[in-house]
């Protein structure tokens, strides 16, 4: 049997950080006393009408621009009818056949659509079941009810759990940088559901999918998808067939369980929401949304690769975090004669390691290492004023107390020995003291040179240039 390839599409709910709810004037909140942010509209009292939050439309347009989507000239709301205590109107106002945005992409993954809707109220089930069935009581907190949401749906373009999780992180970072959402998975302001199926590698057809819900961290998201892919592969390889169903992730043990079919069997009886007029964004609104975009991770990574010549992985790593990216660009700007690739390696390598060593509580931008100081330090290493090893020592000091790298080099006596006569005599002494190694080098074992280099470095306390030491050893041995 051909290898089974993973096919994954994601559905992402993003809570918008507007001041007020989607269709009424109640303030958004998180963690407040239950049911204090409510009004006749979001409690669905008789006779009330929804009014669309303009800020939510503007935020959705920003998301649409960031995901390179087409914006519908007139999109409309529908009623999605369902009877459940978290929905006081007994319908959710959502978008159905004409969403505000469609046909976009983020990186290599195509976006099917993005639409506006309202969040349901939050339910707390008292009792062991944790669900409405079998609970002692169910409490409803309407504070969350009516929070604006943008639901983003991808095409089934993702080919593995790790890839899907990494892409979801990129999406989160992108939306976060737009400033339109807190995108916090634990608090539920970002919720990611996954549609998962497998098919013989190379096939164009889609297998039967299952929908995975309730994975409220990226770790759980990846674990959930991995577990489901493994289950599907095993089942198909054993000759079974996949049943389309919704699976609920249990974070306690990482297992997935089907929701009761009774809860699943919905006929939402969609029809156009007669209480609202179409969303018809002006050209100006769309242009302003596009122009307001910061440089987003995907674009930034492309620029780092193209203009600055960074390797793909380093570019992506830097671009994912706008603060560190900004810091990197400052350092690279101050050290204009040094290749950006070298600067990037220092920021993502040595500096990141030094910060971790120091406790890992601060980011590069927050650290005591000023961008100018790091530029100076990299320059000193590049110009062989100090050795690479000394550079790391200076960096550790900078991380701990900040300051000027030149002063630290001076104070610690780390300046490279530039007097070649002095090094030559140290090398000569080292060759003599390690005659066995010298013999091995002469008989062709190049690796043995490390012993002598080590002896020189020990003697010079790392202040000699490694390359120069190598050259002098070979010269001493007449090679």
């Amino acid at each position: 049997m051909a290898e089974l390839e993973a096919v994954i599409g994601l559905e992402i709910h993003v809570q918008l950080a507007t001041k007020t709810k989607m269709f009424c004037g109640c303030e958004l909140s998180f963690g407040d006393e239950p049911n204090v942010h409510t009004c006749p509209v979001c409690l669905a009292h008789p006779g009330v009408l929804p009014v669309t939050n303009e800020q939510a439309i503007l935020y959705a347009l920003k998301i649409a621009a960031a995901l390179e989507c087409e914006v519908a000239p007139r999109s409309i709301f529908h009623r999605k009818n369902y009877f459940y205590p978290d929905s006081p109107k007994a319908y959710q106002i959502s978008q159905y056949d004409i969403p505000i945005a469609s046909n976009g992409r983020l990186g290599d993954i195509r976006i099917h659509r993005a639409h506006l809707e309202e969040d349901a109220a939050k339910m707390i089930h008292v009792g062991d079941s944790g669900r409405i069935h079998g609970s002692g009581a169910s409490l409803v907190d309407f504070n969350r009810g009516g929070t604006p949401l943008v639901e983003i749906v991808t095409e089934p373009d993702l080919r593995g759990a790790a890839e899907a999780a990494a892409w979801a992180r990129l999406l989160r970072e992108t939306v976060r940088q737009l400033g339109v959402s807190d995108v916090n998975m634990e608090e539920g302001s970002l919720r990611v559901d996954a549609n998962v199926s497998v098919r013989p590698a190379g096939s164009d057809e889609l297998g039967t999918k299952t929908e995975l819900k309730n994975m409220n961290s990226f770790r759980f998201l990846e674990r959930g998808m991995e577990a489901e892919l493994a289950r599907q592969r095993e089942l198909i390889e054993a000759g079974g067939t996949i049943v389309q169903e919704t699976l609920h992730f249990h974070p306690e043990d990482g297992t997935l369980h089907p929701l009761r079919s009774k809860e699943e069997a919905h006929d939402y009886r969609y029809f156009p929401e007669p209480d609202l007029v179409p969303i018809a964004p002006t050209e100006q609104m769309i242009r302003e949304a596009r122009e307001s975009l910061p440089e987003l991770p995907a674009a930034r990574a492309t620029r780092y690769e193209g203009e600055m010549g960074l390797p793909q992985d380093v570019a992506a790593l830097l671009a994912a975090d706008p603060e560190t990216a900004g810091y990197f660009e400052q350092v690279a700007g101050s050290a204009s004669d040094i290749e950006p690739r070298v600067v990037a390696n220092w920021v993502t390598g040595e500096l990141a390691a030094a910060l971790r060593q120091d406790g890992g509580e601060v980011t590069a931008a927050e650290s005591k290492v000023e961008s100018g100081a790091l530029a100076l330090l990299i320059g000193m290493v590049q110009e062989k004023k100090i050795s690479h090893g000394s550079g790391k020592t200076v960096l550790a000091t900078l991380v701990a107390e900040g300051g000027d790298p030149e002063a630290i080099v001076e104070r610690e006596g780390l300046a490279q020995i530039s007097d070649s006569g002095e090094i030559e005599s140290i090398v000569a002494a080292a060759v003599e003291a390690n005659s066995e190694a010298a013999e091995q080098i002469l008989s062709g074992n190049q690796k043995a040179i490390g012993v002598i280099v080590g002896a020189v470095m020990k003697e010079t306390k790392g202040r000699a240039d490694g390359g120069e030491v190598n050259r002098l050893i070979k010269k001493q041995l007449g090679l």
């Binding site: 008789p46 006779g47 929804p50 009818n81 169910s138 009886r269 029809f271 007669p274």
Partner: protein, 480 residues
Amino acid sequence: MTDMLELTAVQAQEAMASGDFSPAEYGKAWAEAAAEDELNAYLWRDGNGDAEAISVEEPSLAPVAVKDIFCTEGVPTTAGSRILEGYRPAYTSTAVRRLIEAGAPVLGKTNMDEFAMGSSNENSAYGPVLNPWDRGRVPGGSSGGSAAVVAGGLAPWAIGTDTGGSIRQPASLCGIVGLKPTYGAISRYGMIAFASSLDQCGPLTRDVRDAALMLSVLQGADPCDSTSVGLGEAPSLPDREDLRGLRFAVPSELARDAIEPGVREVFEATLARIEQLGGEIAEAPLPHAEHGISAYYVIAPAEASSNLARYDGVRYGMRSEGSGDLIEMYETTRAEGFGSEVKRRIMLGTYALSSGYYDAYYGQAQKVRTKIASDFSAAFAEFDFVVTPTSPSVAFGLGEKTSDPLAMYLNDFFTVPMSLAGIPAISIPAGLAEPAGGGPRLPVGFQIAAPAFAEQKLLAAAHALEGAIGFDARPEGVRG
């Protein structure tokens, strides 16, 4: 004192402004008149001790009777349904707020068909309203209470709602003026929803000038209703006396056979009157209007099935305490709280929207709706107005049609197309006619429809025609 109650609202406003009598005297006289309600027309009256009065500091307009579908803060609001028994809204509807701000106190809340579903007022959970012309007959519906209080001398004027004819048909059956404005002219905020894409608030008054005055108070865009746009300019009081240069279309397909002979006679006489006033009469095709009822009875129940799903006994209104099981509480609350016509329409609407049936029912009905609207547009390219009888019959007997929902639905045959097209239409009393089965003569309404937002022109024509008709009959014992 007798004189005061004989005045129209416009006349009373002028009299109060010139100090002929005080708003307090006038208000008291109407409160006393309303207290004499023997028609079961009021569900709540100001001053009956049940709730705080909706007071106006300095009244300057006649007190108004409000259909019990409009939310009034702290004052019982039932929409004629058992399921909203005991409900006192936390807020006041925009229409009522505008009336109060304009200086019109609320005289009382009027009885209606449950959730505005009905054409006879027999679907009220609080008993039928009686027609002041003949208490053995219905006042029409669903704004039957509002029509009956105005016709019966229990209120100077009233507001109602019209979804498929619910202002015009009871106005016709009670011999008063009823105006359904353009969809979007008046805010729907706080008006308990039946069919959101059709519901529209409007006046029920003694004459056309009163309707114009009330419309000028009610109309306007409302930030709480994004489908409201207002009329741009508030209409002024009409004073036109002729119809010269105006073209009136009678639908070519007008089903004259379906109209009661007496009603048909009054209709033809009114057409002659239009010509006497200089208006032109001709036929215009409205080929899809006859499918109006079918489309309406898909669209309205579909929207209603969604609008009425919120009444679950949890947050407001009636709750039926059963075994303590949540699902059972929902079921018994809705079973006991809703009447049979409401249940019928919830089921119809749910079915029409169901997966697999949507295109055949709701989708098809929307296409018919679009066709009807374009028929009217085509007619208005050549004509100023389209005219029909308001209702195919005069007021019918209580219980006469309750067992035959289809016969009841056909009452709205002439009024539904305008609702589907969203255009304004007015019913004015045009004369009296003997019912089909014989008996004392009863009022007949004449309907005039105009293009969207042409209310000013509609009111002017209606006023001229009203003056020429000179309808001055009143139910026995009613002054005015």
